[in-house]
């Protein structure tokens, strides 16, 4: 026995409120990030990721308060993504109680930012989020590229090479989202997940496409992911974290129970 594979629920937060309608039957305020985070903590989530989707940068301060509140009550690792563009953004989130920050678009436009962040705060708290989309045609060798702006803008950057470069620059973990699968509920892009996970030395979190519990387990067994992230299947009460862990254990995956 050794290290457990992790299950990470992800919450989208807009101006301090959880969006995409988290639905727990017995929760008082489903929009309160603190309450939702506490619920996931009780269910046995191994970490929690907050994605700040607040449009206006003026309102980013709200997220700092959310993190402070959650960190005072939930004692598992917290990752914050969205709007992390400067060293100062990272410092504020870490000081508020986040354990890791996820850097996405800023890394694409300025890879040196990842190096600077990792040198300053340590690789252990720098997650690089990669949004990838398949660009190879049927019958061609599989190839994925990095996309920005929610999967709308291609960059021409090869996803595997990019992941390796980000690790060289000091990423301690990769959060990999398939933009082809995101929101589809048909499962992770397992080819992509495995290609990236096998190509890098750091842990990879698989994301995008989870529709049932078997999908989570496949992310580990077939995608070689070290952790799996999902939002909607947990939010709508379709499945609990405990059920997800049971499914993983049934597939021979080591989990924390």
């Amino acid at each position: 026995m050794g290290l457990a594979k992790r299950i990470i629920p992800c919450l989208d937060v807009d101006n301090g409120r959880v969006v995409k309608g988290v639905q727990f039957v017995d929760i008082r305020d489903a929009g309160d990030p603190v309450e939702v985070a506490r619920r996931y903590d009780e269910q046995g989530a191994d970490e929690i990721t907050f994605l700040d989707i607040t449009a206006s940068s003026d309102d980013r301060e709200t997220m700092v308060h959310v993190v402070e509140e959650v960190a005072g009550q939930v004692f598992i690792p917290l990752t914050v993504g969205g709007g992390i563009r400067k060293v100062e953004d990272i410092r504020r989130m870490l000081n508020a109680g986040a354990d890791k920050v996820a850097i996405n678009t800023a890394a694409v436009f300025n890879p040196e930012f990842v190096r600077e962040a990792s040198e300053k705060f340590g690789a252990q708290c720098i997650v690089v989020a990669i949004d990838a989309k398949k660009v190879s045609d049927e019958g061609e060798p599989l190839r994925w590229e990095i996309f920005t702006h929610g999967g709308r803008k291609p960059t021409g950057i090869d996803a595997i090479e990019w992941a390796q470069k980000m690790v060289d620059y000091g990423a301690g973990e990769i959060l990999l989202t398939s933009m082809d699968r995101d929101g589809t509920k048909i499962g992770f892009d397992l080819d992509l997940t495995r290609a990236i996970s096998d190509a890098v030395t750091v842990p990879v979190i698989a994301s995008g496409g989870v529709g049932n519990l078997d999908h989570l387990s496949e992310g580990v067994t077939k995608g070689h992911a070290d952790a799996v992230l999902a939002a909607s299947i947990f939010h709508f009460g379709e499945y609990s974290i405990a059920e997800a862990k049971q499914n993983m254990a049934d597939h021979g995956i080591e989990v924390r129970v």
């Binding site: 870490l94 354990d99 340590g122 690789a123 924390r256």
Partner: protein, 216 residues
């Protein structure tokens, strides 16, 4: 009201450590401080740490805290090292092209290696060692009260402690091989994992620390 000093040398997030201590024992006064007086006057002391070890040791020395830590060790009051706060207690770390540490305990801090594999499955193991791993207690100790054998704690690190005297190992974990994840001697206890991120068992460990008289 007893008080605990969390040594603040500017490296990383002490908020979680302080919050977890407060949560574990609301009656305890938690001071996050670099003030020598305050640390020496506290009933208990926590030495946390994240990030690169050279920066950690550098800041500890710059602030004169190396002497304070040694003073606390000699005083007999309970001291808890956490993560890099455990590693800095050793003689030397291989990190950052080699870093001299505080040498409270003889031994080295080594890199896991880039080609770490699981001997059972042959699978390559990722570095950092990140996530929830089992902690196997080597012996009974008040710090393990109400914590199950092989309970899981949250880890994130790429270097591990190799004490010269194996008798100071208080717990081990398995990641490619078995390594020391807690050490104790007299009034000093130190852990590689993060109790403040390890949910119930982590809070229990802090609670145990706040009840510990510094004797094993």
């Amino acid at each position: 009201m007893s008080n605990v000093a969390v040594i603040d040398y500017g490296m990383g997030n002490l908020h979680s450590v302080a919050k977890a201590l407060e949560h574990a024992s609301p009656d305890t006064n938690v001071l996050v401080t670099a003030d020598h007086e305050q640390i020496l006057n506290a009933d208990r002391v926590v030495l946390p740490g994240v990030g690169a070890i050279r920066d950690c040791v550098g800041e500890i020395q710059r602030l004169g805290l190396d002497h304070i830590v040694k003073n606390v060790v000699d005083s007999g009051k309970p001291l808890l090292g956490v993560c890099v706060g455990m590693q800095v207690l050793m003689t030397f770390s291989a990190e950052n092209e080699g870093t001299q540490c505080l040498d409270i305990f003889s031994g080295q801090v080594d890199y896991f290696g880039d080609n770490l594999t699981d001997p059972a499955s042959g699978d390559r193991l990722k570095i950092p060692h990140m996530g929830w791993n089992q902690v196997t207690q080597s012996r009974e100790h008040p710090m393990w009260d109400n914590i199950d054998q092989d309970a899981r704690f949250y880890f994130v690190h790429s270097y591990y402690v190799k004490p010269e005297d194996e008798a100071i190992t208080a717990a081990t974990s398995n990641y490619g091989f078995r390594f020391t994840t807690a050490i104790d001697q007299d009034n000093v206890f130190a852990v590689q994992f993060h109790p403040e991120k390890s949910q119930h068992d982590g809070l229990q460990l802090y609670k145990n620390f706040l009840n510990w008289n510094g004797k094993s």
